[in-house]
């Protein structure tokens, strides 16, 4: 083997290892969402929430292999235009199996974890009243069709939003967070609130059964975000690049991520008056707010933008609540709201920064236009599909089951047989009498 062959071999190994670590870290996002949602549920729905998260992971990974990866390769031009060249991404192609000359599997794996993240964003918002089967149908469409079409348009080196409008979104705020948030909003409108969440039009807080577990879950999500953002970097033998082809470094991502986390938590603490749920969600809000420009922002500017994002989320949450929408974990506010905020802000702050290959410079209209396109791409399928499931009476669990809790019916197991008391039901007296 020549020195050149050895070098090429080592480069391939390091590339594989880079994304391998990214995938492993991103699994922490799912462990975190599981803990987050288990904690946010009432004790009568704990295991159902956990099962929903486990199944999300399985369903999205499988369907992302069956057809999700194909959408990414086929749809980067508008509306389509690469169908012929995308045959390599079909599940039976030579490129989609053990292969001595291709790194497709490791990239597919990283994208599959991004896809599963979109499903987890939806999962928390619809807790305690959606049918698991309906949720899995919705999450399949979100995770293996909708977001990945958005990624082809807005998170691809030849995506049409980049080549035509000068779009820039380093950390996938648009295709992951905005699309998942908008899709979730569409589903929540049709799903309706949990029983007892609104009384005479007034919002009633249903407290999480284990807020410390919820907070620990979010800390795990923060760990996973380092894998997520690592996966946003393209590693090559000549350095690091964003997915749009401009040079960057992991150093830039470390600055922005940590300053984003810090700023978001502080901002949410102030605006929520120290409410723990919103405060720790502020960490996510901060990172998502800076995600579009985290390869270019000065760390102090990232902190300022993140503080603003953190400040905004309780207000986003209250605004959604006024429409009678019950978003259990604030997914629409944190993911959808902060992604929208971050994308629009980046258009002004990064105005005039060049893109590669002669594509248009980053500009406010390109960012705002991209925001509108991706918001619609997320919202419309979520609304229409959940409406169809609702009409077919497949969307929501029966009211009696919701009152008794899913752990008593759907899940043949008990979360705390000797510990935490189960949710006190108004109907308890009648049933035991």
């Amino acid at each position: 083997m020549t020195p050149e062959d050895t070098l090429a071999s080592m480069e391939a190994v390091i590339t594989d290892l880079f994304y391998w670590v990214s995938i492993a870290l991103m699994i922490c996002i799912h462990a975190g969402f599981l803990a987050y949602e288990v904690g946010a549920s009432r004790s009568k729905n704990v295991l159902a929430a956990a099962m929903k998260n486990l199944l999300t992971f399985s369903v999205v990974c499988a369907t992302f292999f069956f057809f999700g990866w194909w959408f990414y390769n086929a749809f980067y031009q508008f509306p389509v235009g690469a169908i012929d060249t995308a045959t390599a991404a079909l599940p039976w192609s030579d490129d989609m199996g053990p292969n001595n000359s291709s790194v497709t599997g490791i990239f597919w794996g990283a994208f599959a974890l991004f896809a599963a993240t979109t499903g987890s964003i939806l999962s928390g918002a619809v807790l305690e009243r959606i049918r698991t089967s309906a949720f899995l149908i919705l999450t399949t469409v979100l995770g293996s069709v909708v977001w990945i079409i958005g990624a082809a348009w807005a998170w691809h080196g030849s995506g049409w939003l980049l080549t035509e409008w000068g779009w820039h979104d380093f950390g996938a705020a648009g295709c992951v967070h905005l699309i998942a948030g908008a899709f979730t909003l569409g589903v929540l409108i049709n799903l309706g609130p949990r029983i007892g969440r609104f009384v005479d039009g007034k919002a009633i807080t249903i407290p999480p059964h284990n807020l410390p577990l919820t907070m620990l879950g979010l800390m795990l999500i923060f760990v996973g975000f380092f894998g997520f953002l690592m996966g946003c970097v393209v590693y090559t033998n000549t350095g690091y690049f964003s997915i749009f082809g401009n040079q960057t470094t992991l150093s830039a991502v470390a600055f922005s991520t940590l300053m984003g986390l810090a700023g978001g938590i502080l901002g949410a603490y102030v605006s929520s008056k120290g409410e723990p749920f919103w405060t720790i969600s502020g960490g996510l809000a901060g990172v998502i707010s800076v995600a579009p420009g985290m390869d270019l922002y000065h760390p102090a500017l990232a902190f300022i933008i993140a503080v603003a994002g953190g400040l905004l989320i309780p207000y986003f949450g209250k605004a959604i609540e006024k429409f009678g929408i019950d978003d259990v974990v604030g997914a629409v506010a944190v993911h959808g709201g902060c992604a929208a905020f971050g994308i629009v802000v980046s258009g002004f702050v990064l105005w005039g920064y060049p893109n590669v290959a002669g594509y248009p410079d980053i500009n406010p209209l390109g960012q705002i236009g991209g925001f509108v396109v991706l918001a619609l791409l997320g919202f419309l399928p979520g609304y229409v599909l959940s409406l169809a499931l609702k009409k077919a009476k497949m969307l929501r669990i029966p009211a009696a089951v919701e009152l008794a809790g899913l752990d008593l019916s759907e899940v043949p197991a008990t979360p705390y047989p000797e510990g935490i008391p189960v949710t006190i039901l108004k109907s308890d007296t009648e049933v035991t009498a």
């Binding site: 030579d94 292969n99 089967s133 009696a400 089951v401 008593l408 019916s409 047989p417």
Partner: protein
């Protein structure tokens, strides 16, 4: 089914059924299993909800320690 006779000349694609119709069949069966999973899950949900509304235990047999009472 092996696409190679020896690892000495192995390069490129090396997996079960490579270069044949088998990967297509594997993919179809795997997808069918996924659809079957969804169908079984919907049936399980319906059964569980009906059983609960009739105040029947979901699992047959005596209750184990810590098992919640029938609704």
């Amino acid at each position: 089914m092996s696409p190679i006779d020896s690892w000495d000349d192995a390069s490129g694609v090396v997996f079960t059924g490579a270069g044949t119709i088998w990967p297509v069949l594997f993919s179809i069966v795997a997808f069918a299993l996924f659809v079957a999973f969804l169908a079984v899950m919907i049936r399980h949900e319906k059964h569980a909800y009906v059983a609960m509304l009739k105040h029947e235990p979901i699992e047959k047999g005596p209750a184990v320690e810590g098992e919640p009472r029938v609704y």
